[in-house]
Amino acid sequence: MNINLTLIGQSLTFLFFVFFCMKFVWPALISVMEEREKRIAQGLDNADKADKDLELAKQQVATQIKEAKDQAATILEAANKRANQIVEEAKVQATVEAERIKLSAQADIDREIMQAREQLRSKVASLVLVGAEKVLGASIDASAHNQMLDKLAAEL
């Protein structure tokens, strides 16, 4: 158990390793660890922010959906109203048209009747004239008369 030069040797070795650690090991490791710590803190912050953003976006989406729904409902209502209106209008128009067609048809029928009467009248007059001629000009043959009268009637 002598104290000897080994002591100084060990002392120098010790100093060398301490110096080596101080120069090449400690600063590099500490800087890496601090940098990572910073990054992790930033990451956590970012995550918090993202969470908040997500919450905000969700709220926004909800309001937007609600708005859209409201709008859709309004539009639907308006459309329904408009459709009803159009149907009503069409009904009225159709009624009017029908009335008009009925009237014009009536007028046509009346006119046709008048025409037929006119024609008939003129025809009757001429027929009477022809009948009278026949009656006056020829002998009275009952059967002939009958025949003629039948003819006349048929012509009426």
Binding site: F16, F20, C21
Partner: protein, 304 residues
């Protein structure tokens, strides 16, 4: 295990002798009867020769293992420091970072001043001393027997635990002490340092009383100051030396028959398990005390 024909005393003595390389004085009678004509640097062949070398002697095993372990440590640390990534640390990197963080926290608790040296020094002390202590857990005969086989010399001295050599522990503690003195002088100035040594613990405030108190203070403070490196170095040495000695004594049981040998094996195992705690604790204590001493050296003029 004591080899045949070797007494227990010789076995223990052999295990406690360092591989000494030193200067034998002229006229010394060597173990084989040869007389040295002039001062010679050579390996000691027995404890008496090592004794005769005096101060001019290097313990090659202590220094060798210290340097080897320190180099392994530095290489691993430097490798990790060079390849350290910002991403998720894996494997060896996460282990080293764990260690660095632990040391950093401990040092910051104790040492609040600004000094780039202290934390790396604490890391070096903790890991290096731990590794040197760890050599104690390798069964006491393995490496010496291996060394004897490799060198072909059956009496080759080989102590593998550097911290069981007081030269190693005191070498470190005295370095710490010198750094302490250096930082004290640097931070407080020579006058402040002298004042710290002479104005404490007794101080009256009247100069004609203080003048008589100064020598007493100086003696007390000097003793306190010098006790620090001595206790720091001897604590580590004492713990490790005692542990090593018990391992050696237990190893003696291996040569005393099967039953006692087996019992000795169990005891070895138990002591090794307990020793895991001791080696870690001693490394930690050495580191913390060093940091505390450094903090004391940096504390400027607290008024009493």
């Amino acid at each position: 295990m004591a080899s045949e024909g070797q007494t227990s005393t010789a076995y223990i003595q052999h295990h406690l002798q360092n591989l000494a390389y030193g200067k034998l004085p002229a006229g010394y009678h060597r173990h084989d009867g040869a007389v040295i004509e002039q001062d010679t640097w050579t390996l000691a062949h027995n404890p008496q020769e090592a004794e005769a070398m005096g101060f001019m002697c290097l313990h090659l095993d202590t220094l060798g293992w210290g340097i080897a372990l320190g180099l392994i440590l530095s290489m691993v640390f430097a490798f990790v420091a060079k390849t350290a990534t910002l991403g998720k640390p894996t494997g060896i990197q996460s282990f080293v970072e764990l260690l660095v963080e632990f040391i950093d926290k401990t040092v910051k608790d104790v040492f609040q001043h600004k000094n780039r040296l202290i934390a790396p020094m604490a890391l070096t002390i903790f890991s290096w001393v731990f590794l040197m202590n760890l050599m104690d857990l390798i069964p006491v005969d393995w490496l010496p027997l291996l060394a004897a086989k490799v060198t072909g010399n059956e009496h080759f001295y080989f102590k593998v635990v550097p911290t069981t050599d007081p030269n190693a522990t005191l070498g470190m503690s005295i370095t710490v002490f010198l750094l302490m003195i250096g930082f004290s002088l640097y931070k407080k100035g020579p006058l402040g340092f002298i004042k710290e040594l002479t104005m404490h613990p007794f101080h009256s405030g009247k100069w004609y009383v203080d003048i008589f108190l100064m020598p007493i203070n100086l003696v007390l403070e000097t003793v306190g100051l010098l006790a620090k490196p001595v206790s720091l170095g001897l604590r580590l040495f004492g713990n490790m030396y005692a542990g090593e000695l018990i391992f050696i004594l237990l190893a003696l049981m291996f040569s005393a028959g099967l039953v006692i040998g087996l019992f000795g094996g169990v005891l070895q195992w138990g002591w090794a398990v307990f020793h895991i705690l001791v080696i870690t604790l001693q490394a930690f204590v050495f580191m913390v005390l060093t940091t505390v001493y450094m903090a004391m050296a940096h504390d400027v003029a607290e008024e009493h």
